[in-house]
Amino acid sequence: MTVDILSSIKGSQPSEAVNKLFEAIKNANSTNNNSFNKNHNNAVSLDDLRDDVVINSPNIEKQLIIENFPKEKNGYLVVAKVIEE
């Protein structure tokens, strides 16, 4: 898939500046390839997971979410036309 489709941005192209960064990564010395991911310890412990409960949003929050919706017709929120491919 091309990057414009992957990014959902019409006509987008890879940039020269960013490609230079990628070249630097490719050329960088990476000594211990087996150590992948061992320092990423931001995961939450199982004992510390939050409760699996539904918290109802306050009315003001619901109202603001509706206000932010881009399009409304006859009291309905309208999304773009969906096509089957």
Partner: protein
């Protein structure tokens, strides 16, 4: 001198009213020509100020932050107010809820005045990538304000706000603080909740204060810190007391990265001033060690590769379906791509496309996974260093602030200018910019979760260099 304590005393002694304090600052913000303001929160601020005045009039005690005016980078949610991320896509978006860090400040009685200009979605190092006009430096208006939290740093430097809340993903608090001669702190990742901060690169995004004194940084940091069930990467931290950061005797060894200094890329004056600061530290009997670190281009490339991958993912929700400036196309997919191509800035598009490039098949192994691996090595390097030294000291930037217009012309040069800040982001380490030492300040870094030591050393340097 703590601005917060000074104003607190003035309010308590009835030397000024809170309404006047707030109105004066709102007037300054409104008439300022540095392009720091995305929207003013005047109605809310004046209402809150009246409540504080009523309390004082009734003889009630007020908390230290009560009535203190502050600014918020326009990437935070504050219920009912605009949260634009300085972008066309969200220019009419209203926050449905309030960020945890901001809520804690409101609970402490601080008064929000302004949503502050910044690089769109945090994508930039100069605060020029914004629909509200380039932020102008507090000292020299021909120069950039720094970024991405440029509006916040300039507002603090010009005394338009007493403190401001910025966001730092790869240096976005520390660099503008350095460019405008104020303090800016990126705490340890997870010390402050990210809930309600628009996500850029979630694994390095940090909330932090910008202020004019170490004491004000400490006070605001303490209020915002703490575990939050809405951000499961947060952790419980203890309050940093004023008395604990006064004495820096426990700091025996300071290190600096030799390759940051011994390079042609650094401005000669920044280099000589940095080395002069090192000599003053040595003269106080502290041992200084030269440390080895990764090449600047490796650091920058690792950071940008991972940050772009994360931002491509985080910003994929911005498609105009449930919110945002939707532009209708022929069908759903067309609507997505027109909405995104018309409403994202060139820099944001560059980063999203770069992120999708590295995450796509055929690229991910040699770039994205290698980037993750390099990050692991950087983290290991820091762990090794902090067995040898208590503090790492660095310049904030290799060069002085660029002229407005230059960074937009040369994005690669802008990325490379982040060479000294991004490493500490990848390491998730607490790092403070102080307005001393070089033209763009110095960075003080300690090991993970050792935010207290950073402030301690900052107090020591205040009297030393």
């Amino acid at each position: 001198m703590s601005q917060i304590r000074k104003i607190h005393t003035q309010l308590k002694n009835k030397e000024i009213t809170c309404v006047k304090l707030v109105q004066d600052r709102l007037d300054l913000l409104k008439s300022n020509t540095h392009n720091t303001v995305n929207s003013l929160l005047d109605t809310l601020a004046l209402e809150l100020a009246k409540n504080v005045d009523a309390k004082i009039k009734n003889g009630q005690d007020i908390g230290l932050l009560e009535g203190i005016p502050f600014g918020i980078k326009d990437v935070y949610m504050l219920q009912g107010t605009l949260a634009t991320a300085s972008s066309d896509l969200l220019k009419n978006y209203k926050s449905p809820y309030t960020a945890t860090a901001i809520q804690k400040l409101l609970d402490a009685g601080a008064i929000p005045l302004v949503k502050e200009n910044c690089d769109s979605f945090g994508h930039g190092s100069s605060s020029e990538n914004t629909i509200f006009g380039a932020v102008k430096n507090a000292v020299n208006t021909d120069l950039v304000g720094g970024g991405s939290s440029g509006g916040s740093a300039v507002n603090v430097a010009k005394d338009f706000t007493v403190f401001s809340i910025g966001g730092d993903t790869g240096g976005s608090i520390r660099q503008p603080a350095g460019f405008n001669n104020v303090y800016g702190f990126k705490p340890t990742y997870g010390r402050i909740s990210r809930f309600g901060l628009m996500a850029y690169a979630s694994s390095t995004d940090c909330v932090g204060p910008i202020a004019k004194s170490i004491e004000d940084i400490r006070l605001v940091l303490n209020v915002m810190s703490g575990k939050d069930v809405k951000d499961q990467t947060t952790y419980e931290s203890t309050e940093i007391s004023a008395s604990n950061i006064l004495n820096a005797e426990e700091i025996k060894t300071v290190g600096y990265f030799k390759n940051f200094i011994e390079t042609d890329a650094i401005d000669q004056k920044i280099k000589s001033n940095f080395l002069a600061s090192i000599e003053k530290i040595k003269a106080k009997g502290i041992q200084v060690k030269e440390l080895d670190f990764f090449e600047a281009d490796t650091l920058v490339s690792t950071y940008y590769t991972l940050a772009m991958a994360e931002t491509a993912s985080n910003l994929s929700r911005l498609d105009g379906t449930n919110y945002g400036q939707r532009i209708e196309g022929e069908n759903l997919k067309d609507t997505y791509s027109i909405t995104r191509s018309e409403n994202f800035s060139e820099e944001t598009k560059r980063r999203i496309v770069g992120g999708n490039q590295v995450l796509s098949q055929g690229f991910s192994d040699e770039i994205y996974l290698k980037g993750l691996n390099l990050r692991d090595q950087i983290v290991e390097n820091f762990e090794k260093d902090f067995k040898e030294v208590d503090i790492i000291l660095s310049p904030v930037t290799p060069n002085t602030p660029p002229k407005i217009g230059d960074s937009l012309k040369n994005p690669l040069a802008m990325y490379l200018s982040d060479a000294y800040t991004v490493g500490f982001s990848l390491g998730q380490l607490p790092t403070l910019t102080i307005p001393q030492g070089t033209a763009t300040g110095l960075q003080i870094t300690a090991a993970k979760n050792n935010d207290e030591l950073v402030l301690k050393f900052a107090n020591f340097l205040k009297d030393t260099i």
